[in-house]
Symmetry: C2
Subunit: 279 residues, 2 copies
């Protein structure tokens, strides 16, 4: 199959490597000629160009740009596509993208391969990045089932575990397990930095170990990515954040009122519930 990839970074490049290895013909488009050359040198793509017209022959196009560029990229891509070409994306938020993109192209299916690491760019591209990862597709009520099946089958060929659900269900789910943790963790680092007693702050920095390290990890990650999550999944994230604040307030009240039995009960429920979130 001829597969087009727009945006040859960590995700686009890694998809290219694995799909090309399976025998697909990979057509890659990047804004930068140097990235195109690197993609060719690394064996990520068969052909590369800075011009979207390269994708005229593609049966499937995967848009792997940053979230904000997905719909604008599709708008520029549309004049070059054949009527039956399926377009998908890899954005970590789905509802606003699916809304904009299905309007531009009826054969669009939102996608979200849930893999990655802190590296960026074509040089970070690696084989088997997606092995064992979740890959979510988010058709609307109008999306032809055959398109979803074709993409899901391609995703499963990368040894991913595929899920199919409406865009808003995806966005609410990732708000809980991905975007809320970033804000919770960011607030932790922020609050520690407010300590006005320098002896306490310095000792805290010395004594911090695995508990602090783990709880603060995602809050100390890529600032642009964190901001983008909030920007594009604003509604679902605010919903989760407000529920979170309510639970935090309940814990504060239990400690203020010294309801130790209640607090221990809450912590027991958590201890029992957490394994359901670990696969």
């Amino acid at each position: 199959m001829k597969i087009g990839i727009v945006g040859l970074g960590l995700i686009g490049g890694s998809l290219g490597l694995d799909l090309k290895a399976q025998g697909h013909e990979i057509l890659g488009v990047s804004r930068q000629a140097t990235t195109c050359q690197t993609a060719l040198d690394k064996g990520v793509v068969d052909r590369a160009s800075t011009d979207l017209s390269l994708l005229a022959a593609a049966e499937i196009v995967i848009i792997c740009t940053p979230i904000g560029a997905i719909a604008p990229t599709l708008a520029k891509l549309v004049p070059h596509l054949q009527t039956e070409t399926i377009v998908t994306d890899v954005g970590s938020v789905k509802q606003p993208i699916v809304e904009a993109c299905t309007y531009l192209w009826s054969n669009f299916v939102g996608g979200h391969p849930m893999a990655g690491n802190t590296n960026q760019g074509i040089h970070a591209a690696q084989t088997k990045l997606f092995t064992g990862a979740a890959y979510v597709f988010t058709p609307t009520e109008k999306t032809p089932t055959a398109l979803v099946e074709k993409l899901a089958s391609l995703a499963r060929s990368l040894d991913t575990i595929t899920y199919i659900c409406p865009p808003e269900v995806h966005d609410r789910a990732v708000a809980w397990i991905s975007h809320l943790p970033v804000m919770v963790s960011a607030s932790l680092i922020q609050s520690c930095l407010q300590e006005s007693n320098s002896q306490v702050l310095q000792l805290a920095q010395k004594l911090a170990s695995s508990g602090f390290c783990d709880t603060s990890r995602v809050g100390g990650g890529n600032p642009e990515l964190g901001m983008m999550m909030a920007k594009y999944n604003r509604q679902a994230l605010l919903r989760s954040l407000k529920q979170y604040r309510q639970n935090l307030d309940e814990i504060i009240i239990q400690i203020e009122q010294e309801n130790w039995d209640n607090l221990e009960q809450v912590l027991e429920i958590n201890q029992q519930a957490r394994p359901k979130f670990l696969n």
Copy 2:
């Protein structure tokens, strides 16, 4: 040196193993005769008893019971001690313990070896548990320096990194980096469980990966330990929790008001600050 250990669990047992290996004579006291026998069999102690009078000969006594039992144990121990015996503890909160214990015994120095794992009991005791860990001592203004030095020197012989500070500085520091993360993380699990749409909750559980796993880890830990932290470090923890809530509110406001530049700035400050907490 003759060293007494009261409470032969993970911490007491592991201290016994390493100190005995150094040639000290270890006298162990546990409430349970079976624990005494196991401690003898495992080579944790040279002599063991369920009776505190065994410790009459000790130069240093380390109380390794749960936090709530430290002061009551010292009260029972006092009649058996020689005047010059130094007593210390291993509790994770220091101010209330130091207050109660220095009143009972003027040669008391609060201590907190910051090592451990999720296992409990004498069977979990292991050698070199403390290697590389922080070990904090919290003398008051009245504590003779020689006592602190003697304990710190013993702690350093276990390859720990020792810190000396007032009890309240310790408690505020650990509130930030140990107790606050537990409550922040616990509130995260709690809030996810409030999701009323079962399709969203189930998908969230399936999609949760390393970010959620890390951020929720300490909030899904031992409920009794979490409650005890809050109970004994209530004041410092509430102070940290209220600052945290303020920073969380600021992040919520930034997202509500779509102040994306401000949000990104906050996340940038976090990204730069976090490494100062990682040793």
